[in-house]
Amino acid sequence: MKTSKADFDATCNLFINSVNNYFRHLTEVDSKLNVPYLKESEGLVLKDYTGMIGISGNRKGFVYISANREMYEDLIKIFIGIDKPSDEDILDMAGEISNVVAGNVRANLGANFMISVPVVFQGMPSQLKIPDDVSIYVIPIIWNSHEAFVVIGLQ
């Protein structure tokens, strides 16, 4: 089932709210939203480390949150108190944030919106393939002076 424009917009808004809530409540530092855009050209916008979650049920697609190391380092310092996190810690943080954000959206949309456990990766895996019939919405956010991308792809 293809997602209608209204459904797509509503889902994107839920993700935007979830990201804002995540930063506001867990870090007490608000995130700022830059102008979201629909991505039309090939390829994905990715920063250094990414946590990606598959979406199934009534809507099919994916969501990922991608940011550079410095943003995850700041989050780890706040959450765990580790000053010099390893690459593994950074990847865990990428998985954690995408899991919590998508989990909160799922709580709003109910049982027909299913999410996978996060897949985390550094850089751009060569095997990553995005189907042609997916609409991709890019939400750039700024938190604590770090830029991150929340990217939603829905069929």
């Binding site: 706040i78 108190g81 593994e88």
Partner: protein, 253 residues
């Protein structure tokens, strides 16, 4: 939707399980490990194995929290144990736990508002492979020994590692000399085993059922016990969601 990513591209499990070398313990002892994080692929339960000459060290730690944040804490515990035993060459399990606590204290004391605490229940066993001797020290993690199908508990200290920094953490070592003619099975487990929700009434598994489960495996190879225990746990759990990570390490000597 197939995005082309297989588990080999996913760094989550690779990071988590690379710290916990199941192969090492299984290559030396008749042993098994059941590791079932509550959510996703990773959690706050972890173990650490290290061989030094005739001694094999096996530690289990049950860190606070679940998921990816807790998994970061398991790495801190594994790396700190590695440093204490491998680099500083501390050999006595009780002393290792005291050093572990002091390391955690120097890292985390005074850190407030963390989203996940640094505390953990820890059990540490040192196995002398040549003379069948076991040394154990625990922080809120008992060691269970099963001989002739009957279990006994080797008690741990009641204070967690990495918490209550204002109190004296005195971890002592218990020495066990094993009967040369009888097999002993040993088990270390996190709280998630006895607290596994299930059955018709949605109750915790509880200590009694847990001991029954472990005693029932006496005389069987550990690989068979693992299959039996997994099956029993799945039956017990049914459709109930787990409330905690679950880690069980068993070995026979």
């Amino acid at each position: 939707m197939n995005l082309g990513l297989s588990s080999s591209q996913d760094a989550t499990m690779k990071n988590y399980f690379s710290m916990f070398p199941e192969e090492l313990i299984a290559s030396i002892l008749d042993a098994f490990i059941i590791n079932r994080p509550m959510i996703g692929k990773v959690g706050g339960d972890g173990f650490w194995v290290h061989q030094a000459g005739e001694s094999l060290y096996v530690a289990l730690f049950d860190c606070m929290g679940h998921g990816h944040l807790a998994s970061m804490m398991t790495r801190i515990y594994a790396q700190t144990l590695e440093k204490i035993v491998k680099e500083q060459e501390v050999e006595d399990p009780g002393t290792v736990l005291r050093y572990l606590h002091h390391n955690l204290q120097s890292k985390f004391e005074g850190r407030t508002n963390l989203k996940i605490g640094p505390g953990a229940d820890v059990g540490l066993i040192k196995i002398n492979l040549s003379v069948r001797k076991i040394e154990f020290s625990g922080a809120k993690t008992d060691l269970i020994q099963v001989v002739d199908g009957k279990s006994q508990v080797i008690k741990s200290a009641r204070l967690q590692i990495g918490e209550y920094f204002d109190q004296d953490h005195d971890y002592t070592t218990t020495q066990l000399t094993l009967d040369q003619n009888k097999t002993s099975n040993f088990y270390l487990c996190s709280d998630g085993l006895k607290d596994l929700i299930g059955g018709e009434a949605g109750k915790k598994l509880g200590k009694k059922r847990m001991f029954d489960l472990l005693e029932a495996g006496y005389g069987k190879p550990m690989v068979s016990q693992k299959v039996d225990i997994m099956m029993e746990l799945n039956d017990w759990q049914g459709n109930h969601d787990p409330l905690d990570d679950l880690l069980l390490i068993g070995f026979s000597i």
